[in-house]
């Protein structure tokens, strides 16, 4: 029975799992769970993942959620996976665990805080929370600085590695979510961090062509969101002149 992968390509950790499977030739069935239309709350999906989040996998009778746990499981369960994704060496592996753990409360929390409160929430009619967006951006910027000065100080990839690991896919997919911001905001936030910008390119190349293919939906959404925001600000400008 083929591995089933429940995902939404708008979700950062979903994209990480998809890219990983494709680059390693893992046979799987992709099952879309559309977050924007709340499909994660259906009773059918609750049976797969009671946390009602994506991604989740079902491998035979075994169900698993949390993307880092999934990536580690796939590295160990499928023999064809090259060892640089999750090295056998205890020290290298521990550093990968360390950055994956750091990610939750830093890069991820900052990115989600900023993008949700600036773009996703307001576009879905939720009241915008400028304070939460500001705090998200502060945490994001602190996290980018830590990536630049610490996690990428010794090599092209995280924790001083010469080749990418599951941590690189996970964290780069997170940063890609900033593509939903305006071009001006995205560049303002990212451009000071030269190593981070280079690392994103290196990770894209190392996982080509799957990286761009899996991110296709994100770029479509980016175009739509930016057009909507532009329309809203024209409307507001007209209103204010009346």
């Amino acid at each position: 029975m083929a591995l089933k992968v429940y995902v939404d390509r708008m979700s950062q950790p979903s994209r990480a799992v998809l890219i990983f499977c494709k680059i390693n030739g893992i046979d799987f069935e992709e099952i879309r769970v559309d977050i924007l239309t709340n499909k994660q709350f259906s009773p059918e999906y609750k049976a797969i993942n009671p946390m009602r989040q994506v991604p989740a996998i079902v491998d035979g009778r075994f169900k698993l959620f949390e993307s880092h746990a999934i990536l580690i499981y796939l590295c160990c369960a499928f023999p064809g996976v090259a060892s640089h994704w999750y090295p056998g060496d205890l020290f290298k592996r521990s550093k990968i665990h360390s950055v994956l753990d750091w990610h939750h409360s830093n890069l991820r929390r900052g990115t989600v805080g900023l993008v949700f409160n600036t773009i996703i929430g307001p576009l879905n009619g939720l009241p915008s929370n400028a304070q939460a967006a500001k705090e998200g951006e502060k945490l994001l910027v602190r996290s980018l600085a830590k990536l630049e000065d610490f996690w990428l100080k010794d090599g092209r990839f995280l924790t001083g590695s010469l080749q990418p690991s599951i941590a690189d896919i996970s964290l780069v997919c997170e940063i890609m979510q900033l593509e939903l911001l305006s071009e001006k905001d995205r560049d303002r936030i990212l451009s000071p961090y030269k190593k981070v910008v280079q690392w994103i390119e290196d990770t894209k190349k190392a996982t080509a062509p799957h990286f761009d293919e899996v991110h296709g939906i994100l770029f479509k959404a980016q175009k739509k969101f930016r057009e909507r925001v532009a329309t809203e600000s024209v409307k507001n400008e007209v209103k204010s002149k009346m």
Binding site: L64, A69, D101
Partner: protein, 238 residues
């Protein structure tokens, strides 16, 4: 060279590491970094851990931070560690990873938020943000419900296990912070509906005796002092 463990017994993840080392007879040197006094921000400690947090370990040339990563490293490095702490079976291990990952944005985030808003800010005379306080309590209650109905549904310990794993040490230390620092009224309101969670805390204490009580000693003492201080502060305000 002995393993060095930089920690503060007031820190939940620090206690998990200490209990683990003592339970498994791992020789180590405990070096206290006093968080309340800001010692994690000294230049000397920043060299050891640039994130300026505890716990951190230094094992010879190797430095590691993030408590889940540390517990996994110690489980694999020391051959005397019993296999139930970090199972070698791929599926059992994956479940342990899953609950450890879930912890960050759920139990930990909720618990830290509730403690900051109900204990730390009032103690320092800083008005808390009611929206942040409400969100933290919502996150915590949701996390406790998920523990009660999902993570503890199949066994005395997390993910259906009959013996504790590193996940139990870490998550129970988190619950202890709430148990000891919140006022009796708040603790009873928030924690008492969760019978399985309360039993699991007791089971983990028993399974790690006598080290659990010994390592939590600082929290018990400081918690009592902080609760008394807060009670007298609010008495004065009335």
């Amino acid at each position: 060279m002995t393993l060095k463990v930089y920690c503060d017994r007031m820190s939940q993840p620090s206690r998990a590491i200490l209990i683990f080392c003592k339970m498994n007879g791992i020789e180590f040197e405990e070096i206290t970094i006093n968080i309340l006094k800001g010692e994690q921000h000294t230049p000397e400690y920043k060299v050891i851990n640039p994130m300026c947090q505890v716990p951190t370990i230094v094992d010879g040339d190797f430095t590691l931070f993030e408590s889940h990563a540390i517990l996994i490293y110690l489980s694999c490095k020391y051959p005397g560690v019993a296999s139930h702490w970090y199972p070698s079976d791929l599926i059992e291990r994956a479940k342990v990873h899953s609950v450890l990952d879930w912890h960050h944005a759920n139990l930990r985030r909720g618990s830290v938020g509730v403690i900051i808003n109900n204990v730390m800010l009032p103690l320092n005379g800083v008005p808390s943000n009611p929206q942040a306080a409400e969100e933290a309590e919502k996150t915590l209650e949701k996390a406790l419900t998920v523990l009660e109905t999902f993570w503890l549904k199949d066994g005395p310990f997390l993910v259906g296990r009959s013996q504790p794993s590193i996940a139990d040490l870490n998550l129970v230390s988190e619950v202890m912070e709430l148990d000891q620092l919140l006022s009796k009224e708040l603790r009873d309101r928030i924690l008492s509906p969760y019978k399985k969670v309360l039993q699991w805390v007791e089971d983990t204490k028993s399974a790690t005796a006598p080290h659990f009580e010994e390592i939590h000693g600082v929290l018990f003492k400081t918690g009592k002092e902080l609760r008394e201080q807060l009670a007298s502060q609010s008495g004065k305000n009335e």
